[in-house]
């Protein structure tokens, strides 16, 4: 009964404080997204590509060209174009892509789940492998195990993903036949289930289409392993360095002196503290993966966000680029907030300070 929040005074200020904080977060999120849109918009207009040409092509008559020029609102001053765009976004209209002739929102709903599924599985693989390897490398610092982990990481860092992807396909798909090839699902299963969420693992599993589910896994496993390998390379290095910091702390020495088993010292005492900064690293890496890996998506014919954005950018389809950027921005902001939240769960000091 001595906790401060239980006093009438504390209770009275708790709600407005919470609201105040939420408002602060909302304002900073809005400002971040606005800045992001503005910069993307300006870059899009500075790029020396004529968007009208992407719509009408090279042969159209002048009347066609002029009509589309007006339709796209390109006759208006830049600030006005941006203002119109912003107003539309606020009313929930992201505009239409002139490459796919569909609303941007519909396009994003179609392509993003493909990237989300791939990135999530990739990150899971990377985290599950990367953290133990990083811990191992830190514990065996300078020894053979450390060197091995470093070399594995180095290859993951430096080998072009494009090349590794093709090599993977050649070995596991073409030679060994262990996995299915490029694409998300075989044509045979394409119409075996209804695409509801676009997360095919989920869609097939919830509809009880286990044959199709296996096929989806078989398609997913190779590109996911590839992304997993890259995340592992990064995560293991970061884990190693965070762990080395923690292992040099006095509380670790104290624990060892007290006779705490070494396994517990490493996996519970040290790792729990290293986990705090690690959460941010993993969350940001996840956001990176969610941008879509253009090269991976290209090699594996994976119809995701990366391919969509690249294609839009090359054709100056700015509505699509802006919509995609907004989505990625949201992912970053969301994951940042999420990692902040996890921070306070993991670190009592942060919790108390709040």
């Amino acid at each position: 009964m001595t906790l401060s929040s239980e006093t009438p005074e504390g209770r009275g200020s708790a709600l407005p404080a919470f609201l105040w904080k939420a408002a602060k977060i909302a304002a900073s999120v809005a400002l971040t997204l606005l800045g992001l849109l503005l910069v993307t918009f300006l870059i899009g207009r500075v790029v020396p590509v004529d968007p009208v040409l992407s719509v009408v092509g090279d042969r159209a008559s002048k009347s066609t060209y002029d009509r589309v020029f007006l339709e796209l609102g390109l006759d208006k001053p830049l600030w006005q174009q941006f203002w119109i765009y912003l107003k539309n976004v606020l009313s929930g209209d992201l505009g239409e892509s002139f490459l796919t002739k569909r609303p941007i929102a519909e396009d994003l709903i179609r392509v993003f789940p493909a990237t989300l599924e791939l990135a999530t599985v990739g990150l899971l693989i990377g985290t599950v492998l990367g953290i133990p390897l990083g811990v191992l490398a830190a514990v065996k610092q300078g020894k053979l195990a450390d060197q091995v982990v470093r070399v594995i990481g180095l290859v993951g860092y430096s080998a072009p993903i494009f090349w590794l992807g093709l090599l993977g396909l050649l070995v596991f798909y073409a030679r060994l036949g262990w996995v299915a090839g490029p694409g998300r699902v075989d044509i045979t299963y394409e119409y075996d289930f209804t695409v509801k969420t676009g997360i095919m693992l989920w869609d097939t599993a919830t509809q009880g289409r286990w044959e199709a589910f296996r096929n989806v896994v078989s398609h997913l496993i190779l590109p996911a392993m590839l992304l997993g390998y890259f995340s592992m390379a990064y995560i293991s290095r970061m884990t190693r360095s965070f762990m080395l910091q923690e292992l040099a702390q006095e509380y670790i020495t104290a624990a060892r002196v007290k006779g705490v088993p070494e396994g517990r010292v490493i996996w519970v005492h040290a790792l729990k503290n290293a986990a705090v900064p690690l959460v941010t690293v993993v969350a940001l890496f996840y956001a990176n993966l969610l941008e879509g890996s253009v090269l991976t998506e290209t090699v594996f014919a994976w119809p995701g966000l990366g391919m969509y954005l690249t294609n839009s950018l090359q054709n100056a389809d700015m509505n699509a680029v802006l919509g995609g950027t907004l989505l990625i921005g949201l992912c970053f902001v969301g994951l940042n907030l999420f990692s902040d939240l996890l921070y306070s769960l993991l670190d009592p000091r942060v919790r108390r300070r709040r």
Partner: protein, 530 residues
């Protein structure tokens, strides 16, 4: 606890090991092609203009007029049964075949044909100029293309154009016959059903467009209401596979039946595979360099000629394009009426140096060349750079994205543009109209043909081009185009180098695929799988 986790691990392991290998054959009644689908930006025939989607329209819609892909001079009616040209040559009267229907079951009548043509002119999308060049405008078209009976209509033009020109233009996808009733059911704000049709389908061809997911897949199904011979295939699917090496793996594994965008290297590697066959077709696309006459060096006739001697045409065709193109130096592709197939230019450094000296540039000069940074373009540009340097012409290569290059080209800000040009229809006027016509060389000109883009005032040639458009005697007309090509070849600001060949790699059991002269002639209608 331990027991359970072991059980899960075992279950996962057995599941992964049992995951089926991907060696399954494609279904016998389905054709699966790996293709780069990012060119598709619409499925409305009034708007479709790019190579890949025009192939889709070619297999799913019917045009008024068709021609034999093996011999394009054999023109025949498809939806049209017959036609007559009036005395003054300005009106063509068409009769429509009776008793045929659209995929929807609606009958095909003159109403639909007139609607389709009027619609294309009024919507005024990219390919509309193919029709509007005969004097149709959104305002007058309803008075110029008129129904004269349930199965007949008149096409009234502003001049007596060569009938073959008009007929060839009516074979283009922009003139495909659209189901009026179905399209108008989806009309919004007087858009002739455009909003709907850009992702929908309202045709009468052998296949029905079932689904298009951008950059993913395009699915066609057999049209059971098709009036011609029913295709053997039930389904034809295009899968978006952007990478050549990936296409090759899929083809080798039998996960696709046809790979469409293989690089010369991948094609060469497949040559020894007994399960794979390669089919080729000469296409109309030309690789050329455009020399901007705003550049004072390039404006000298001797320099233009010298540069034509500083390209090793054959070597590039043999070592870089490897069967993807052949040497061709005139603006009309082989196969066109009046096409010049001689190749008078070859690498001749001594001659080029002589010409440069005569132009007052014995030590050569430096000039920029804008190049697309994709595919074979970069490699060809480097080869050209090397031989040009031998003559003293130092090329500075400016790599860029294709749309970026095009923007610069159309603003006449380039020195040298290196790219491709493909004809819009099978009549010679299509290329003459751009390589040999420039009636207004000012920066504000309404029309931007290639001659204009390279700031080449072609007054005399423009007149000859206009005259050839009206010549009704085929032999005389052919001679006029031959003359035009020779003039452009000798003096023009274009170094035309190669004519493209399309190579298609198929599983050996796939028979009956047709690689036509134009992309809308590429056909899988007769495909069977043995």
């Amino acid at each position: 606890m331990l027991h359970r986790s072991r059980f899960i691990a075992a279950a996962v392991a057995s599941f992964l090991l049992a995951a089926p290998a991907a060696q399954a054959e494609t279904p016998a009644d389905t054709l699966i092609q790996a293709y780069t689908l990012d060119e598709i930006i619409s499925l409305d025939p009034a708007e479709v203009f790019e190579f890949m989607p025009s192939e889709v329209i070619g297999n799913s819609y019917e045009t008024l007029i068709g021609y034999d892909p093996a011999d394009v001079t054999k023109v025949f009616g498809k939806v049209a049964e017959s036609w007559t040209v009036s005395e003054d040559g300005k009106t063509i009267s068409f009769t429509i075949r009776q008793g045929r229907q659209f995929a929807s079951g609606n009958p095909i009548t003159a109403d639909d044909v007139v609607f389709s043509l009027v619609r294309a002119v009024k919507l005024d999308k990219s390919p509309a100029f193919i029709l509007t060049q005969f004097g149709f405008t959104p305002d007058n078209v309803e008075a110029q293309i008129v129904k004269t009976g349930d199965y007949s209509f008149d096409l009234k033009m502003d001049n007596s154009y060569a009938p073959s020109l008009v007929l060839y233009c009516l074979t283009a996808t922009v003139a495909a016959v659209v189901d009026k009733k179905l399209a108008m059911e989806h009309e919004v704000n007087g858009d002739f059903g455009y909003e709907w049709l850009k992702t929908g389908y309202a045709g009468s061809g052998p296949f029905v467009i079932r689904e298009w997911r951008p950059n993913e897949v395009l699915v066609l199904e057999r049209n059971d209401n098709y009036s011609g011979d029913a295709p053997a295939l039930v389904r034809s699917i295009y899968r978006h596979v952007p990478e050549s090496a990936t296409q090759r793996l899929l083809l080798e594994q039998g996960d696709v039946d046809i790979a469409r965008n293989l690089s010369p290297e991948d094609l060469a590697a497949l040559a020894s595979n007994p399960d794979i066959a390669v089919q080729s077709g000469v296409k109309g696309s030309l690789y050329y360099m455009g020399l901007n006459q705003k550049n004072e060096n390039l404006a000298k006739p001797e320099v233009r000629e010298a540069m034509k001697y500083l390209v090793d045409y054959q070597a590039i065709a043999d070592t870089i394009l490897k069967g993807g193109a052949k040497v061709h130096q005139a603006f009309l592709p082989e196969g066109f009426l009046g096409a010049v197939n001689d190749t008078p230019y070859s690498l001749d450094v001594a001659k080029a140096k002589e010409l440069l000296a005569a132009a007052g540039l014995p030590d050569g000069f430096t000039v920029k060349m804008s190049v697309r940074n994709s595919g074979e373009f970069a490699a060809i540009a480097e080869a050209i750079q090397q031989t040009m340097a031998q003559g003293g012409v130092m090329l500075e290569l400016i790599p860029g994205d294709s749309s970026q290059n095009l923007t610069e080209y159309r603003a006449r800000q380039h020195d040298i543009f290196f790219g491709q040009w493909g004809p819009d229809y099978q009549d010679p006027h299509t290329n003459a109209d751009t390589f040999a016509r420039n009636t207004d060389n000012s920066d504000e000109a309404a029309s931007k043909p290639l001659a204009w883009r390279n700031s080449w005032p072609a007054e005399e040639l423009s007149k000859e081009t206009a005259a050839a458009m009206l010549e009704r005697d085929a032999d005389k007309r052919a001679a006029m185009y031959t003359e035009l090509q020779k003039k452009v070849m000798a003096d023009g600001p274009f170094i035309i180098m190669f004519q493209q060949t399309e190579n298609v790699a198929l599983r050996a059991n796939v028979k009956g695929f047709v690689v036509g002269p134009s992309f809308n002639d590429n056909s899988f209608i007769g495909v069977t799988k043995e």
